[in-house]
């Protein structure tokens, strides 16, 4: 099934980098030739409290703004989104569109039979993997969880390759970028931990790549085709 637009909702916990992930996904999609817009949830976030961000990617100009109420893709960054209801919408998949996709960062299967029944009735596919484990194993810090989530998103939707993802990550960490005061202090904390910025970028890219490959393999097994026509195909039409 080819779409014209992918709307993504990313429920997470404050401090996990969901806003950064949304910006990197949008930058990567823009690099791949699509129209893309990203934004955070409009409120006051704090560590361990619910935080949410959104990305819209399409083959036509995007006017739509604000929270994604009817998503095609939901990326759950933290198990507490499901287990403790740390989500702006209840249940976390409310509004999911038919034939949608849910990516969950969790070691175990957290969905109830009722959840599964509903999602199956909507033909929604669920990709459950431990993004945090990828981050710890490859980057040596759980702060790279968002990178694994980015990799998984593109691995399954197949709308942009690693070259675009690398571009998105580099644009985020090489350029001066102010998201908020909190993000700035988080940046400096990460930088101290990694000592060198380039090393940080490389570790981030490797984490994204590993998750990309795993998710891409899964998508192929599931028979999932690329979610959007290639930008050059659109231009040809």
């Amino acid at each position: 099934m080819k779409r014209r637009r992918i709307n993504v909702r990313m429920p997470a916990i404050g401090g996990q980098g969901a806003v950064t992930a949304a910006h990197i996904i949008a930058t990567a999609a823009d690099h791949a030739g699509y129209h893309a817009v990203s934004n955070p949830f409009f409120g006051a976030e704090k560590r361990m409290a619910p935080a949410e961000s959104y990305v819209r990617i399409g083959i036509e100009p995007i006017y739509d703004r604000g929270e994604v109420v009817y998503p095609d893709v939901i990326m759950v960054f933290h198990s507490q989104v499901i287990t403790m209801g740390k989500s702006y919408t209840m249940p976390f998949y409310s509004g999911i569109k038919k034939d949608g996709l849910i990516i969950i960062n969790a070691e175990e299967d957290l969905l109830t039979e009722r959840d599964k029944e509903f999602l199956e009735s909507m033909n929604v596919k669920v990709f459950n993997f431990s993004a945090t484990k990828f981050a710890i194993d490859i980057a040596g810090t759980e702060l790279a969880t968002n990178m694994a989530m980015i990799g998984a998103f593109f691995g399954i939707t197949q709308i942009a390759g690693m070259d675009s993802i690398e571009e998105g990550i580099k644009a985020r960490f090489l350029k001066k970028f102010v998201a908020s005061g909190g993000t700035m202090s988080l940046d400096s904390a990460i930088e101290r931990k990694f000592k060198k910025k380039l090393e940080l970028i490389e570790k981030n890219i490797n984490t994204a790549k590993a998750a990309f490959e795993l998710a891409n393999q899964w998508a192929k097994e599931q028979g999932i085709e690329p979610w959007l026509p290639k930008p050059q195909e659109v231009a040809a039409v």
């Binding site: 823009d30 817009v37 990203s38 934004n39 955070p40 006051a44 036509e60 604000g66 109420v69 102010v178």
Partner: protein, 401 residues
């Protein structure tokens, strides 16, 4: 004879170019940035003399980044005021001294500073205020809601409403140019819906940053800078309008008319630099017409596409770029052929619905429906607008699960 070209530079060492070159002709490159970052880019190219700031969500980042421009030498004076009232008073002092000025605020900050806006207009100060609307209390909301625009409509300031970060960039630059025309010379408030623009990252086309607007020339002002004690103003010392006599009443009245007439005189300049006061989008034959501004127009555009492509309903959007001056004639023309006019809004009172009704009354006989309307920070999904239209038309709603 050979013509010598004179190249002039501003204080930051940027080459001075005409507004038309900066806005229309200079080559542009694509950047991916937020609305807050775009404010910095626009101010950077506007030869700004002074800016005063005070933090309030969601405009804090834009104010912060104007401060960075001061550090980098692009803005002459920059400091933090003690409150929004302080900021708007201090920026007025800078403007009276002949400076090109810009400041930013949001929500309750706007109301705290309220007394100053009619003062700016009456003093004929071409100050630019970037308003990142967020709604006003109580209960507390920091999320997008543009109720405060309603309070600003009659302050004597020009008010423009941008839909995207791109438009905000272009409007900030054009805003200075229009506001500083000697026959206009009133404040300009460039509004965006907070968060929807300020915190959203999107592609923006920017001209190079080594070119900038010509500096403001305060000696072209309708009233001399600093020395505001001459007729008809005499704002600073012994203003005769504060005495109760018929001359003072007449002066005050005529000056208020003059400020509003000045806004009307901005039309041709705004029309030129904004490429029209309205934008038409969708099916030109559309029977369902959304009249909207800012993010409400963006959401209506998305809904229009769903209505046309998936529901077979002819729909279109008439987007108002300026609210003061209000594009009355353009609107009357644009809604011809409409069966129903819907006015979607991000506030509880429906200030745009009121404006639209007033503009159309006696000119066209088309029902105006003030809907859909959300407030308090709620988003307005296009699916929600579509549902509203389908229900109104008595059709089946199959979009929203």
């Amino acid at each position: 004879m050979q013509k010598t070209e004179q190249v002039q530079y501003n204080r930051a060492g940027q080459k001075i170019v005409s507004p038309e070159y900066l806005l229309f002709e200079a080559p542009r490159t694509k950047h991916f940035m937020t609305g807050s970052e775009v404010v910095k880019e626009a101010v950077k190219r506007s030869s700004v003399d002074a800016s005063v700031s005070y933090p309030i969500t969601p405009q804090s980042e834009a104010a912060h980044m104007i401060g960075e421009l001061w550090v980098e030498g692009y803005v002459g004076v920059y400091f933090r005021g003690e409150s929004e009232f302080g900021v708007m008073s201090e920026i007025a002092g800078c403007a009276m001294a002949g400076a090109r000025t810009i400041t930013t605020t949001s929500g309750p900050g706007t109301l705290r500073a309220m007394e100053n806006f009619p003062m700016w207009a009456g003093s004929r100060l071409p100050i630019q205020l970037v308003l990142m609307a967020r709604g006003i209390n109580s209960p507390l909301s920091i999320q997008p809601d543009n109720l405060e625009v309603s309070f600003l409509l009659d302050t004597g300031c020009m008010i423009w409403h941008a839909e995207t970060a791109q438009e905000l960039f272009d409007m900030i630059i054009a805003g200075f140019v229009v506001a500083e025309q000697p026959d206009v010379h009133v404040p300009i408030i460039t509004v965006i819906d907070g968060f929807f623009i300020s915190h959203t990252r999107e592609a923006v086309m920017l001209p190079p940053d080594d070119i900038a607007l010509p500096p403001y020339n305060p000696y072209k002002a309708p009233m001399p800078p600093i020395d505001m004690e001459m007729s008809p103003g005499r704002f600073l010392r012994d203003p005769y309008v504060m005495k109760s006599n018929y001359i003072s009443y007449a002066t005050h009245t005529s000056w208020q008319f003059e400020v509003r007439a000045a806004i009307e005189r901005s039309r041709p300049y705004a029309k030129h630099l904004l490429r029209g006061l309205i934008e038409e989008f969708g099916d030109p034959e559309g029977e369902i017409v959304f009249v909207a501004s800012g993010t409400a127009a963006a959401q209506a555009k998305e809904a229009t596409q769903i209505l046309i492509h998936e529901e077979g309903i002819k729909a279109r959007v008439v987007r108002l770029k300026t609210l003061r001056p209000f594009p009355t004639q353009e609107l009357i023309q644009a809604v011809q052929g409409a069966k129903y006019i819907f006015v979607p809004e991000f506030n509880v009172v429906g200030w745009l619905e009121r404006e639209v009704r007033r503009a159309l009354y006696g000119h066209v006989d088309i029902p105006v429906i003030g809907s859909p309307r959300v407030a308090g920070g709620m988003t307005m999904p296009p699916e929600f607008i579509v549902k509203e239209i389908l229900q109104f038309l008595g059709k089946e709603v199959k979009h929203v699960v």
